[in-house]
Each structure stands twice: as structure tokens, then as C-alpha cells.
Subunit: 508 residues, 2 copies
């Protein structure tokens, strides 16, 4: 066998695996957007079949043999080239997949699909108790999954590493503790100041117009609708079926101007990342975002750093006012900017402001740790949730709907791999933003003119195009000169909210 | 191996095949409803992969061995029971699938997907010439497919038999010639009579209200929206992902009241058939309509025999008028009934009235025959189309958009398996309707009251619940006492249009 023939076989094999992943994603997208209620059981069965077929391909011993042959030739390859990176990533995925038995994959897929369906019924009925047996099974499966990777120190390390390669539970705890130390006094100082006006956010804004406005903004951002689309779901998300078919979803409340807009901006950040991957990677495992933390850095950058910034509203407030002239006739651009940045200790993570958002994440991560470490039983989770909200945010949900049932994540997959990435993403977003500002000094003025091509161009050049061919650490080091560091993010929050609320930076 | 263990293995194997078919259908549904333009190439690749995996499962030699073992036990089984019928149908499908090489299946799927994409671009540009090379390849693949089944007399027999088992090209030609002999003088007689008023059908009817009205009717019919949904596509269709997820699509023209309504009624007939299959058959090849002719008999029955009938409009005209009071203020129920049954020699098959519809089908079938028999080249097809429309219907399309490019069928799959089933379905629909009327004598009065449960109940009892566990011939014989026969259909047309147009039955 020549290297060329072997490498061609590798491409064909990973393309099948990638395409089966994408087909599974189509099934998942349809389940969340358009599936009629009756279709759920068969869909769970179909998704489980796809997961099993994918897993068989991903763990085919012949793929391992092929990779070993290719690795012997690796020294002759450019270490940054497609060949070397594809071999490396394929080896990583193969080793990880072969640890997990086929039967486990099928059980997990079937269980996740059924639990998701049960959650969609239980949430409106505020029935956490009814979900406890299923969630106990989810925790059991999550712990079982961890046992397949005994080389990690902490039972949740494998989930954190799967989300962002090379990061450990210990590191996340360290980042979170430094972040919390900076956040708590800042939130405290802000909460003692008077709240800005927000009444006008809750006037009546028809759904169709809200969707149209959000779509007009992300079209300006550079989300390509000829290679994607937006649909409505209960929980917004971004999903990819290929580099040229990256879809997002959003949700609308007609008495809340911010829900739809910021969900749309958030998901567009994920989607532009996926749409921006080098097209040479299509049909390979390199053709997606490199980690959940880098992914989230992009959704939060476009949602918050850009979309909740003063310059953004200089450009878009007149346009929003033109779309809703009656509702916004008595509002100024400055009032809008202040309103979309109101800080409030609240119940719902996805509605939270930038400042308190991370407290929502940190408490979820710590509840996950407590469950994995055996310090918290699933049946006590709803109460633990309420207790943490009272202690960390000073609020208590009237029921579990807006408590432990609010996020889909624990009800669709395993426990431990998702939430922490949102805050790591926030931290990274400011490292990238600072780097982008150094490279494109007038980026803020461009935003104030509704020009996003230079910013998106810099992000594409330094992050998006690489897909998974660079790790989160490599990207952070190359663009910002350092690995994960909380200072840029804390400085940003202190500057922005110090100015907004008249709080001295040193107080915070 | 016990019979029970073998049969269990058969169920698992056919469930995988069935589920892969359904997943392929999800990909197809999404391609027609929501796929962004950029996503087409990857989707073609993914569909081809699914087709290949499905074909591998469907032709696994171990399945053949298993079937042989099970067949040795068949004499002990109830010949009408699930076990015997499943073994029989699985054998039929296995034998048919094993004749077709894997490579052919992949080529065909990839080619069909690409050609579909090319057709969606070529049609608005009226570019048949650009499609000729692709369509030549389609014909080549269709002929190649026929060579895998040398036991049939005519090269198109395999397509007809795949659509409706046991029917041959010779039989279709015979039915069509008897039908044409009855139709031509009837169309001629009607065309000499004054046309009813139809102006009000072309007033402005907003899309949303049209969709809502159509959905209200099929809800009354008994289409179950908790196990289905309706979306918009260029070409309406029905697709099944399980017995409990059967979806339909429709299209709307705001200056045409009939397009959306009758498309919706038509597809609901297909869908109620699929939704009505015995739930014990879920996950097996028995869980779908038994043939294209029986399927089409149901779509045409609910669209035409019911939906274009006088009794239907007694009930629905006041409701339609309430939905569109301004547009229909000067119209009576009788005028509406006459308008939706206007006979007109026209260009578009899917818009055609009941009487001329079959002429559209017959000419397509004959063009297909001419291509398969080598009497017509693809490059001459557009001209042949125009010539046949001029001779058979007396009209000529101004371009190919409404000529040879109007139907998707030849541009998405092979040539020869589809159109003839529409007319066979019309013929069967009246055999079934007559049988239903004998069993439920006051069915017309029930329809005039908007009551459809007794009719749907009879159809479910005698047709729907059996799925593929009974053949078209078995169902026709059991319910009507005879195989395919054109007389009931011709009698119905003569009676209905004789009365509508004041034409004497004997003239026709």
C-alpha cells in the first residue's frame, strides 16, 4: 500500500463517519423543530440505529490498522498540514470511540431520546419527580462512561476533555474560583445602584417582525443564509449537516424584545464559526469547531461583546426603532443600550445578563461535580438547585419548571460535558476580542457603521478556517500569546459595568 | 435455532432496513422542504451513503439463509397471519434487492439527488437542453436496472411490477386503451358545452387562510396531526417515517383557490392510508401501502370522489364562504361545485380535472414506453411532449417549464415506475367507492354533514390496516369481487359529467 492509497482510504472512512454524524444531526434537528408528538418513539429507535452504525464505523479495527500504517509515515509530513492533522484527529477519535462498547452507545442514544421526550412533557407539568428515575439512569450511564477512561484523575475529567481537549476539572475549578472572586464584589456593587429603565422591552413586539429584525442583523454579521437557515425551537441551538448547511434555531416571546434577538445573535456566532471552516476539510472530522470553549467564545462574542455593545446600538437602534416605531417612540439609543445590559439576579440562565450569567454556570458545574462525586443524589437535585440559587443569586424559582427543569442538557445526553464550556467561552471571547482589536484598531467604529467584514475576516483567518486542525490551546496561544486567562474578561466586565452603573473599577 | 428465535432475528433485520429507509425519507423530506441551496451536494452524498447501507442490509446473504430456514416452517403457519406474510414480503424484497449490485444503488442515489438539484435550477430557467445529458444517464440507468430482471417480457415490466405487484405493461396498455375509448368521446361532448363560471376561483386568497381551511378539512377527514404535519414544497407529496409520523406537503397560489385545497386533500388520502396500517406492523416492510395503484386510489378517492363531490360542497361551501366572505359573497354552493369540476384541456397534470387527467397520464406512460423501447431519444423528448399535448389535449405549452419540466418524477429516480399508477388508482378508487357505498348506504348523506368516520372506518377495515400484508389484487378481489376493471370509473365519470354538462350518457 502506498501512503496515497492509505490516505485516500482514511478520507473515505472518515467521510462515512462524518456523514453518519450529520445524518444523526438531521434527525435531531427535525426532532426539535418539526417532529409530531407521535413520531418520537420511532425517531428514538432510528437515532439509536444511526448512533450504532456510526459507532461501528468509528471503531472498525481496520481503521486502527490503517491509522497505525499512516502514523509510520507521519515523520515525512508537514506537521501543520491537512494530512498530519487529519491522521492525528482521526487517531484521537478512534482511540476514544474504541473504549466505548457498542451496546453502551445504543443504550445511551435510546435513553437520551426517550428522556428528551419525557422532559418535553414533564417540564410544562412541573414534574421533576417523574423524571428522577430517568435522570438517575442518566447519571449511572455517565459514571459508567467515565469508567471507560480510567487514566483520568477525576470522574468528570473525561467530559471536560471531550468538550475542550487538554482541559481538566482542576483547571476549570481554578478558573471558576478566580472568576467568582472577581465577579461577586462587582455584582454586589452594581446591585446597590439604581436599575436602568427596561419597561419598553416588554411592550408587544409581533413575532414575525422580531424574527425579521434578528435575521437582518445576522445577515449583516455575515451568517450565510444560502448555506443555512433559522427555525423555531424551545431551546435555541446550532447544528451542522456540512460546511455548507449550518442551521440555527431561536425562540420568540412577543412581550420580550431581547429573547429572540440575542438567541439569534448567539447562535449565529456558532454558525459563522462552522460556516467559516476551510472547505478542504469537508467530509472529515476537521470540519467543525475545535472545542466547546472556542465555540462558545464565538457565540458570546457576537451576542455580547458585539451585540450588547454601545457601538452596535449606535447603528441598530435607529433600525430597530424603524421596525417598531410605536413601541420605541419614547426610547433613546442610550436607554436601549442600558436596558439590554441590565444586571439582575434572575432565574433563567439563557436570559441572564453578562455579569450574573457565569454564576448560573458555576453552580450547575458544581452540582454536576457533586453528583459525579457521590455527594448529591438525583432525587435531591431539585432542592439543591433551589438552595444554590438562593445562596449564589438570592432568588428562588416558584417551581421546578424554571428551576432544575429549565435547561435541556441533563435531559438529552450525559451529565457533565456542557455547562462549564459556556463560561470558559466567555473568558476566551475577551482574549480573542482583545487580539482582534489590536489587529483591527478601528473595529469599534466599523461596528458603529454596521460593518462586520473586517472582524469576521480576522476571526475566520485566525480561528474559523482551522476547524479542528488546531486545538483550543494552539489557537489561544497563537492569537493571544497565552492559554486560558481570566484577566481580559474581568477587565472588560469591570470597565463596561463600571461605566454603566457608575461603579469605581477598584471597588469591583 | 427455534422458529421463534429465527423470526425474532428476521424482525430485527427488517426493522433495521425499514428504519434506514425512513431515515433516507427524512433526508428527502428535508431536501424538499427546508434544505438551503448550499446544502445540496453534501445531502446527495449523505443520501447515497444511506442508500448503500440500506442496500447492504437488504442483501446480506445471512438474511437469505435465515429466510430459507423460516420458509421451511411456513407450512405450519396461518397463511394470512403476520408471520407468514412478513416472511413472504421479506423474501420478495430480498430477491428483488439482491439482483441489484451495490455500486448501482450508490450511482443511482447520487445521480438522482444531483439531477433533482439540477432540475430545481433548470426549471425556472426553462433549460431542458441543459438537463438532457443527465436525463440520458437516467434512462441508461433505468435500462440497466431492467437488465437485472431478465425474466420479465417488457423492459418496463419490472417498474410496473415494483409499483403494483403482479401488473404488467401489457395489462396497463389494455386498461389505458379501454379507458381512452371511453374518455375521448366524453371529453369531446363536454367540450362542446358552455363552461361554468370560474372567475371567483382566481380572486385573492391569502396563503395562511387557504392552508388553515385545507387543514380543517383533512382534520375532519381524520388525518391525525399528532402523527403527522403539513409543510410547503414545490411538488406536493406524502412521506412516512413510521406509522406514527406520516407527513404531507402542499403548495399555495394566492390567486387560485383550488391548488392548495385539492393538493392537501390528495396527500391526506395517501397519509390516512399510511396512518391506518395496523400498529403491529411498525418497523416491518408490511407497514406501508401495498402498491402505488392502491395508494393512488386513496388519494384520488379523498380528493375527487369525496372532495369534488356535490355532498362535500353542501357541507363545506358555507364554511369556505365564512373563511373568505368578501371573495365569495356572490357565489353559490352549486356554482362552487361546478367550478371545481370544470373540464378544460390544459397543460399541467396536477391541475387537471378528473376527466382529462388520465390523458395527461396516458401520454407520459407512452413516452416512457417509447424511450424504453428505443423509439424516442431523450434529446427529442421536449418536442415529443409538445406534439402529444397538441394531439391528445389540443394545447401546447409556451415553453418547457410547463412542458417536459413540469413533473419532478423523471428528474428524481428512474423512468417508468410512477405515472401509470395515478390512472390505475383512479380506476381502483371507484371500485372501492362502490364497495364502500354498498356497505355504508348513507355515506353520501354523512359526507353532506361533514361526517367521515364511517367511510374512513370502512377503508381502514378493508384496506388500510392490512398495509403490505395483502396485495392489490387480494384487496380488490376481497372488497369488490373483481380485479382491475374500468367500468365503475367510466360509469362514475359519465354520470357525474353527464349531469354537470347536460350530456346524455349514451352520447358519452
Amino acid at each position: 500500500m502506498t501512503f496515497e492509497a492509505d490516505f485516500q482510504e482514511l478520507r473515505e472512512r472518515v467521510q462515512e463517519i462524518t456523514d453518519l454524524t450529520s445524518v444523526g444531526a438531521v434527525l435531531g434537528w427535525d426532532r426539535s423543530t418539526y417532529l409530531p408528538a407521535g413520531g418520537a418513539p420511532a425517531r428514538a429507535r432510528q437515532s439509536a440505529l444511526l448512533a450504532r452504525l456510526r459507532h461501528q464505523k468509528a471503531t472498525d479495527p481496520a481503521l486502527g490498522t490503517l491509522l497505525s500504517r499512516l502514523e509510520r509515515e507521519r515523520t515525512h509530513l508537514d506537521p501543520d498540514g491537512l494530512e498530519a492533522r487529519l491522521i492525528e484527529v482521526a487517531r484521537h477519535d478512534f482511540d476514544r470511540a474504541t473504549r466505548v462498547p457498542d451496546a453502551f452507545v445504543v443504550q445511551l442514544s435510546q435513553h437520551a431520546n426517550e428522556t428528551y421526550g419525557a422532559w418535553t412533557r414533564a417540564r410544562p407539568e412541573n414534574d421533576f419527580a417523574g423524571l428522577v428515575p430517568r435522570l438517575e439512569r442518566t447519571l449511572e450511564l455517565s459514571r459508567q462512561y467515565a469508567t471507560f477512561f480510567p487514566e483520568f484523575d477525576h470522574p468528570m475529567d473525561i467530559f471536560v476533555d471531550n468538550a475542550t481537549e487538554g482541559v481538566t476539572v482542576a483547571q476549570v475549578k481554578d478558573v471558576f474560583s478566580r472568576l467568582r472572586a472577581g465577579l461577586v464584589p462587582l455584582v454586589q456593587a452594581v446591585s446597590e445602584r439604581p436599575e436602568p429603565r427596561t419597561d419598553f422591552l416588554h411592550r408587544f413586539y409581533p413575532a414575525g417582525e422580531q424574527l425579521a429584525f434578528g435575521e437582518s442583523v445576522i445577515r449583516d454579521y455575515g451568517y450565510d443564509f444560502s448555506r443555512g437557515r433559522q427555525d423555531l425551537t424551545h431551546h435555541p441551538f446550532c447544528t451542522r449537516f456540512s460546511i455548507d448547511d449550518v442551521r440555527i434555531t431561536t425562540r420568540v416571546k412577543e412581550n420580550d424584545l431581547t429573547e429572540c434577538l440575542f438567541s439569534t445573535l448567539h447562535e449565529s456566532g456558532h454558525a459563522m464559526y462552522e460556516q467559516g471552516v476551510d472547505s478542504a476539510f469537508e467530509g472529515t472530522p476537521l470540519a467543525r469547531g475545535t472545542s466547546s470553549a472556542v465555540h462558545e467564545s464565538q457565540s458570546r462574542l457576537w451576542e455580547n461583546v458585539v451585540g450588547r455593545g454601545r457601538h452596535f446600538w449606535q447603528h441598530y437602534f435607529p433600525r430597530l426603532q424603524a421596525a417598531f416605531p410605536e413601541q420605541l417612540h419614547d426610547v433613546s439609543a442610550d436607554e436601549m443600550y442600558r436596558a439590554v445590559n441590565v444586571v439582575r439576579r434572575s432565574l433563567i440562565r439563557t436570559d441572564a445578563d453578562e455579569l450574573t450569567y457565569n454564576l448560573h454556570v458555576i453552580l450547575r458545574f458544581e452540582l454536576e461535580l457533586a453528583m459525579h462525586e457521590g455527594r448529591l443524589e438525583v432525587r435531591d437535585l431539585a432542592d439543591a438547585w433551589h438552595a444554590r440559587y438562593e445562596s449564589d443569586l438570592g432568588v428562588r424559582a416558584p417551581d421546578d419548571r424554571d428551576g432544575v427543569l429549565q435547561d435541556v442538557h441533563w435531559y438529552f445526553g450525559m451529565i457533565g460535558g456542557v455547562f462549564h464550556g459556556y463560561t470558559l467561552g466567555n473568558v476566551l471571547s475577551l482574549q480573542f476580542w482583545d487580539a482582534a482589536r489590536r489587529a483591527v484598531p478601528d473595529v469599534s467604529d466599523q461596528i458603529a457603521r454596521g460593518e462586520f467584514a473586517p472582524l469576521r475576516g480576522w476571526l475566520t483567518e485566525h480561528i474559523y478556517r482551522f476547524g479542528r486542525s488546531r486545538s483550543a490551546n494552539e489557537i489561544a496561544l497563537a492569537t493571544t500569546g497565552s492559554a486560558l486567562t481570566v484577566e481580559p474578561y474581568l477587565n472588560y466586565l469591570r470597565g463596561k459595568y463600571g461605566e454603566l452603573y457608575g461603579v469605581h473599577a477598584e471597588t469591583a
